[in-house]
C-alpha cells in the first residue's frame, strides 16, 4: 500500500528508542461516543452497530474482532449526574455498556468507550 513505513523501532535523536510493538499494542482498537438518549453513535471507530437494550443499556459490536474477551474497556459518561459506568458480558465481538445515575438506576446519557487489547 502507498505510504507504508515498515519499521520495528523508532529512534529519537536524543530521547532514545521505542519498538513499534508499543505503538501497535498500545493503540486503542475501538472507540466510540454513544448517546443512550438518541440510541446512536455520535462518532466511532471499529464498531458495526449498537443495540439499544433499554434505558442506559447498550451492546456495541466490533467490526474487527478481538483475539479474546480479556480486553480492557474504559467507559465514561458526559453528564455530571452519572455515578457509575460499567461494561459487562464481553465477547470477542461485543461489549455491553451501562450508565447509572444518582439513584443508581440505568440512565440515558452520552457515554465514551475505549477498547484496548489485541485484535484477532
Amino acid at each position: 500500500m502507498a505510504g507504508t513505513i515498515v519499521a520495528d523501532t523508532l529512534t529519537h535523536s536524543t530521547a532514545g528508542s521505542v519498538t513499534t510493538d508499543y505503538v501497535v499494542n498500545g493503540s486503542a482498537k475501538a472507540w466510540g461516543r454513544y448517546s443512550h438518549n438518541d440510541a446512536a453513535f455520535d462518532d466511532s471507530f471499529n464498531f458495526s452497530s449498537a443495540v439499544d437494550q433499554g434505558t442506559g443499556d447498550a451492546r456495541l459490536t466490533f467490526s474487527s474482532a478481538m483475539v479474546n474477551d480479556d480486553f480492557s474497556c474504559t467507559a465514561t459518561a458526559s453528564n455530571n449526574s452519572a455515578r457509575i459506568c460499567v461494561f459487562n458480558e464481553p465477547s470477542t465481538t461485543t461489549v455491553d455498556i451501562e450508565a447509572f445515575g444518582t439513584t443508581f438506576a440505568n440512565t440515558d446519557l452520552a457515554q465514551g468507550v475505549t477498547i484496548n487489547g489485541d485484535l484477532a
Binding site: V51, D52, A65
Partner: protein
C-alpha cells in the same frame, strides 16, 4: 473514490483507511427484535462509519467469516481466536446497497436464533423499520415490545 486492493490487508488497516477517506452514512433503518419474553425489545442501530464501508465495497469480509469465528468462540475450550486470518485474508465483499448492508448487518450482529426463525411463532420477533416508526420519546423504554397485531403480510407491504 476507488477502494484500494485490500485483499490480504488487515481489516483494522482497512477500517483506518475508510475512517480517513469515506463520509459516514447515517442510516434511517432500525432493526427491532425480541430476544426474550422477559426483556424489552432491542433495537439495532447501524454504525455510520460501518455503513460507509459496506456501501463502498472492497473493505468488509463476507459475513460467513464472522459466523466461523462465532463457532470457534462457542467451543467450551475456547481461549483465543486462531483463525483471525479469515477476517484479513478472505476476499472482501463488493459494494452493497443500503438495504443489502442492513441484511448483512442482521446476519452479523443479531443473534442467529432470532434472524433464522424471525417469523416462527405467533408473531414476528424481528422487524426492520424506519427510525421515525419508533416511539418519538423513550418513555416506558424498558417495556417496549413489537406490536402484537403486526404480521408478515404487513411487513411485506
Amino acid at each position: 473514490m476507488q477502494t484500494p486492493d485490500f485483499k490480504g490487508t488487515h481489516l483494522f488497516d482497512r477500517l483506518c483507511w475508510a475512517k480517513e477517506n469515506l463520509e459516514a452514512h447515517q442510516s434511517d433503518y432500525r432493526v427491532v427484535y425480541e430476544d426474550s419474553i422477559d426483556e424489552c425489545a432491542k433495537i439495532l442501530v447501524p454504525d455510520p462509519n460501518w455503513m460507509a464501508c459496506a456501501m463502498q465495497g472492497g473493505i468488509l469480509p463476507p459475513v460467513w467469516v464472522y459466523h466461523e469465528l462465532a463457532k470457534d468462540e462457542a467451543q467450551p475450550d475456547f481461549k483465543k481466536h486462531t483463525r483471525g486470518y479469515l477476517l484479513h485474508e478472505t476476499e472482501p465483499v463488493e459494494a452493497m446497497t443500503e438495504e443489502q448492508a442492513i441484511e448483512y448487518l442482521i446476519m452479523k450482529d443479531v443473534p442467529q436464533h432470532i434472524w433464522k426463525s424471525w417469523n416462527d411463532g405467533n408473531k414476528p420477533k424481528m422487524v426492520i423499520c424506519r427510525k421515525e416508526q419508533l416511539p418519538s420519546t423513550r418513555e416506558w423504554r424498558n417495556a417496549w415490545k413489537i406490536a402484537d397485531d403486526i404480521n408478515a403480510t404487513d411487513l411485506a407491504a
